[in-house]
Amino acid sequence: MNKRRAYRSFVSYIDRSREYYAAQGYSQPYTWAHHDNAPFTPLKKPLSECRVGLVTTAGKMDAEAERQGRRKTKELYAMAANPAPTRLFTVDLFWDKAATHTDDVDSFLPLNRLNEYAAGGRVGSVSPRFYGAPTEYSQGKTSLRDAPKILEWCREDGVEAMLLSAL
């Protein structure tokens, strides 16, 4: 159906969160990552011959964190992908808790779907581990501390292409 609108229909989280935190009295808005150039690496061989890995911003389940509703420290981790976890820790992340839920891990970390593609031959194989990157306020921690470590794990696991799923 054709519709006409005087505004964009998708939500701007940059605008929305700035106004929300300003209403809470935070005068310094968060400054989001912005790069004039984005890196691009083409696949070197067909995907049906590649090992594919997955990165999530969700955390490992832990009884203490579950009780507290938050993690003491948000840590970078690599975890066995088979069997796929049935729950991950997401309560302390920024997502729409009024509109949806994260009870189905495949809705944000689609390991089972990726395994199905591997079984069907669409991708060569799935990495034996998936990787968890904490959502950090500090962009420096993400790019200088976390990203190189994830790349190192990927190389250990023979990963040749990555799906990065952001909650």
């Binding site: 809470q24 509109a99 040749e160």
Partner: protein, 108 residues
Amino acid sequence: MPTVVLGSARDVVEECGVARFVFTDFPLGNPCGKPWDADMQRSIVGSALDLLERAWMARVTVQTPFRWGNDAWRDAFMRVDDSNREALAREGEERRRLQADAKKGGLS
């Protein structure tokens, strides 16, 4: 390393600038498809795999065809209006007070 991002915060990802981006216009939380909808999840992951193979340059965004079902979440998320402005200001004050107390107590 060839990468593709799956997400629902279009402005955040595009401002950052990534190699490939599969955008699904859903409330934040399920960037790979609705919970328990394996067909939709398979389709979205399939779009990501297609993009890994077919993108020819950086910053290619593909939007998947799925709709959440209603649009109420768009205005409701982090809404600021006259009905909650005072409550938000109080929440902010309270959080800063707790943080200041934690600092004084040597906690962080």
